[in-house]
């Protein structure tokens, strides 16, 4: 089991969701985050006050998957989130110790497999 974390542009979030859906990756969480990953600095002006925006809006996907689904998930994230310009985001994969589905008490592999599989 792995936890796949994908941090992507907010305007690509819908494409990522679509790609994940097509790859049959169903259990996901998504949150809005602010991040900085080396993109060119953006300057904004508020009534004469110029500020350099250090952080950009990003969307963070968290997806717990069984091992055989890790590559599929990564591919879907890349496919949905890529524009080719700096700021597309990153994917992190980390080992997952345990997973429990609260409703049924199923553990690990059973818990990260979508219902009905």
């Amino acid at each position: 089991m792995k936890l796949v974390i994908g941090i992507v542009r907010p305007d690509m979030a819908n494409d990522v969701l679509e790609a994940l859906y097509r790859a049959e990756v169903r259990g996901i969480s998504m949150s809005r985050v602010q991040g900085h990953g080396g993109e060119l600095e953006r300057v904004e002006t508020y009534r004469g006050t110029r500020v350099q925006m250090g952080l950009s809006e990003k969307v963070r996907f968290e997806i717990a998957v069984s091992d055989e689904f890790v590559q599929t998930t990564i591919d879907a994230l890349c496919e949905g989130a890529q524009t080719g310009e700096v700021g597309d985001g990153k994917i992190f994969v980390m080992p997952l110790e345990r997973a429990i589905r609260i409703r049924t008490g199923e553990r690990d592999h059973g818990a990260v497999t979508p219902v009905g599989k």
Binding site: R9, D11, M12, N14, Q34, H36, E39, L40, E41, R42, V43, E44, T45, Y46, T49, R50, V51, Q52, M53, G54, L55, S56, T83, E85, V86, G87
Partner: protein
């Protein structure tokens, strides 16, 4: 018609003038209300740009109105266009405007606020993708080539007024003018890149309701002021501005409930606009009871267009055609059916014995949409040949606020570093360049 500036304003009525000063301010606040209404309907990343298109109309349309628009609309009674006698505001002074009891300056300002909001209305068709610079140029040209011309036809003694069309507060220039221009603008500028592919939802329903409320509030000046006095037609239009939208609201509730078993807030906000628009042309001409019937009936065609338009490829984004074009057309025709001389002192409609009036209304309902659509289409096609009307797909993805204004509506400020002049590196930084 040139009025001597220094002439004693003997015919000026202080009560009428006082009301018209207030009415002018009421109509002006409608443009801000519209900005709020539109801003709530778009995605968060386009909030400021959408609002700014309305603010742009405040700047641009006021100036074009003062320079030539007012003159083309209200100088003389040429069939198609007014003269240039009032260009650059010449002879627009304290003497009463012909046919009214208010100074021409007040009349000018009141009519100017109409030009502003109508220009702002058209932006609803092109939000979330049209570049801000070209929009400024478009609104300057549109306010003269479309609004001033239609205003002359209906209000300024042009051919529609001459052949007897009744239009109390702007069914022709404001509502049909903006609605059918919006359709043309949407066709020329094209759909947003995500239109029809993703759900593009309103980001703040409270703004939408508050904006609709401000619009309704301002509409009392819009309709109530369109008699230019405090006489019976003005009072009738004022009261009808309360009655019609209330009936439209309830009818919209019922249609919403029948369709989805739920009554929606954004639907309610839309219903307020539709009701106000419906009574705009008819306000001073139909009885209060017929105004209520109008409120019920106007809901059906507008609701249908709102429901069906998103199924087409036409991304007329904020439904200006449904809420203004269709409702305005309905109101214009309604006058021809149910106007009542007992109430308006001017003319009867078909149901009260004057079929000719109905015909006059139908002519206006056919001519105004054709002109507004055709002229706007040509205008934007021409402008589009000179400069790109919309930005790249990437710009659209990042959002108009950052790309065109270098600001965000919901900025947090976390991680933002103040740039001081002493830092020395200010000039090297790209200004609002999206990554």
């Amino acid at each position: 018609m040139s009025l001597p500036l220094a002439a004693a304003p003997a015919a000026i009525d202080t009560g009428d003038t006082a009301w018209m000063l207030i009415a002018t301010a009421l109509v002006l606040v409608m443009t801000i209300g519209l900005g709020l209404f539109y801003a709530g309907l778009v995605r968060a990343k386009n909030t400021l740009n959408t609002f700014m298109m309305c603010v742009a109309a405040l700047a641009v349309a006021t100036i074009t109105w003062a320079l030539v628009g007012y003159s083309l609309a209200f100088d003389g009674d040429g069939k198609i266009l007014g003269g240039l006698g009032h260009a650059f505001m010449s002879d627009v002074g304290f003497a009463p405007r012909d046919g009214t009891t208010i100074p021409q300056l007040v009349f000018f300002a009141f009519q100017g606020t109409f030009c502003i909001i109508t220009t702002a209305l058209v932006s609803g068709a092109v939000v979330e993708r049209m570049r801000f610079g070209p929009f400024l140029i478009f609104s300057a040209l549109w306010s003269v080539l479309v609004y001033a011309v239609l205003a002359h036809w209906a209000f300024g003694g042009g051919w529609l007024a001459q052949q007897g069309t009744l239009d109390f507060a702007g069914g022709v220039p404001v509502e049909m003018g903006s609605g059918f221009s919006a359709l043309a603008a949407a066709l020329v500028v094209g759909a947003r890149k995500d239109y029809g592919r993703q759900a593009l939802l309103p980001h703040n329903a409270i703004y939408v309701l508050l904006g609709a409320g401000l619009l309704w509030f301002g509409w009392f000046g819009f309709n109530g002021g369109s008699g230019f006095n405090t006489g019976q037609n003005s009072v009738l239009a004022f009261a009808n501005t309360l009655l019609t939208p209330a009936c439209t609201l309830l009818t919209w509730f019922i249609l919403d409930f029948l369709r989805n078993r739920q009554i929606t807030a954004i639907g309610a906000a839309t219903a307020i606009i539709v009701g106000c628009v419906g009574i705009t042309p008819a306000g001073g001409f139909v009885s209060p009871i017929w105004a209520m019937v109008l409120g019920v009936l106007v809901t059906f065609p507008c609701y249908a267009v709102v429901a069906l338009r998103p199924r087409t490829r036409v991304d007329e984004t904020l439904d200006v055609l449904a809420a203004h074009g269709v409702a305005g057309l309905f109101g214009i025709v309604f006058i021809g059916l149910f106007a009542q001389k007992d109430w308006n002192g001017i003319a009867d409609g078909l149901f009260y014995g004057d079929g000719g009036q109905f015909w006059s209304q139908v002519v206006a309902a056919a001519a105004a949409p054709v002109y507004a659509f055709g002229m706007t289409y040509a205008l934007l096609r021409g402008l589009g040949a000179l400069m790109p009307l919309r930005g790249s797909d990437r710009d659209e993805a990042v959002g108009m606020d950052i790309v065109h204004h270098g600001e965000e509506a919901y900025v947090t400020g976390e991680g933002a570093i103040l740039i001081t002049a002493e830092a020395g590196d200010v000039e090297d930084l790209p200004v609002a360049q999206p990554v």
